[in-house]
């Protein structure tokens, strides 16, 4: 009897362990089932920061009618300037900026240029075929900063998103805001 159990035990354990795994599946990118990690900026953090920044920009600059265009009767033109990543993680800042730019375009009050901005044209074909050049009315610049803290097993990471909207003509910041996302978690007893 004992030999019988020992013979089939590994197979039974393997079958049980296989059943414990989770098959790959899709989750809603704007839902609340996303994985949250302490030491990384997660996709929902970028969306959260972009949502807050866009709402602030609309509330304080666009909805008040303070946005000015260099071309009378036309929408204001926005160019993306330097967005610094000063966190310990390497990521593309477009994960934040593109969301904001798309949302601002949806307001119907602003255009964005893809042929002029920090690092060169985003669309080199459009830049090469451009027949008229319009100077941007505003530029968007900013920084993402990370600070960490630890107390015993409790780890905390704070990601500070800072953005400024500058009037390109005179270099004056007409809007600025900061959004801080703080995450806490405990280090597991076993493992990394």
């Amino acid at each position: 009897m004992r030999k019988l159990v020992l013979t089939f035990l590994p197979a039974v354990c393997a079958a049980l362990l296989a059943g414990c795994g989770t098959d790959a599946h899709y989750v809603n990118a704007s839902g609340n089932q996303l994985v949250t990690t302490v030491e990384q900026v997660n996709i929902q953090d970028f969306a959260n920061a972009a949502d807050a920044m866009t709402a602030s920009l609309i509330d304080r600059e666009i909805n008040t009618g303070d946005l000015r265009s260099g071309v009378p009767g036309d929408k204001a033109l926005l160019a993306i300037s330097l967005i610094k990543n000063e966190t310990g993680e390497q990521f593309d800042t477009d994960l934040l900026v593109k969301k904001i730019r798309v949302a601002l375009l949806q307001t119907g009050k602003i255009y964005a240029t893809t042929t002029g901005g920090f690092g060169g044209p985003e669309d080199p074909v459009a830049a090469a075929n451009q027949t008229t050049a319009r100077r941007p009315d505003y530029t968007l610049s900013g920084k993402i900063i990370e600070t960490r803290a630890q107390s015993g097993d409790l780890r905390q990471s704070a990601f500070v998103f800072q953005l400024s909207l500058t009037s390109a003509g005179n270099g004056v910041a007409v809007w600025e805001d900061e959004k801080t996302i703080v995450k806490q978690g405990t280090r597991p007893a076993v493992g990394f």
């Binding site: 704007s30 949502d51 909805n63 949806q106 307001t107």
Partner: protein, 136 residues
């Protein structure tokens, strides 16, 4: 006797788990926001105790963007968390898709009230819905 003694020993620890807030504001508010008559669908009474909606207020700016504010209170006596998401609809009742659409986490202390504020993404957004989720 032993059970009573153990219960009395646990009381201080239990008291540490409950932390509610005190607040103060003018007895006669100088300004009153425009309240919206809302329709609520409560399928989770426990979540409603954590994120209880006191009122829904709106205003429209000069450029036609809708500003929405929800006054939400944690009815429990201990800190609780939840997430919420705004969805916007245009004048035809169609949902406006946004790249910034996401669930936003909130933690409220016991009996704390907070304001969930957001701006419509476009002047064409005329209606909205807010969905609340329990914290994971």
């Amino acid at each position: 006797m032993k059970k009573t003694f153990l219960f009395l020993l646990a009381l201080p620890a239990l008291a540490g788990c409950m932390s509610s807030v005190n607040s103060v504001e003018p007895a006669q508010p100088t300004v009153t926001a425009q309240a919206v008559v809302d329709k609520r669908v409560v399928t989770d009474p426990d979540l409603d105790n954590v994120a209880h909606i006191i009122g829904v207020y709106t205003s429209t700016g000069p450029e036609g963007f809708l500003r929405v504010e929800l006054q939400v209170q944690n009815l429990m006596h201990a800190p609780r968390s939840f997430t919420y998401r705004f969805e916007w609809k245009d004048q035809n009742g169609m949902t406006i898709d946004l790249p910034t659409s996401t669930t936003i986490p909130v933690t409220l202390q016991g009996r704390e009230t907070t304001a969930l504020v957001t701006m419509a993404p476009t002047p064409l957004a005329k209606d909205f819905r807010v969905t609340f989720f329990p914290s994971k």
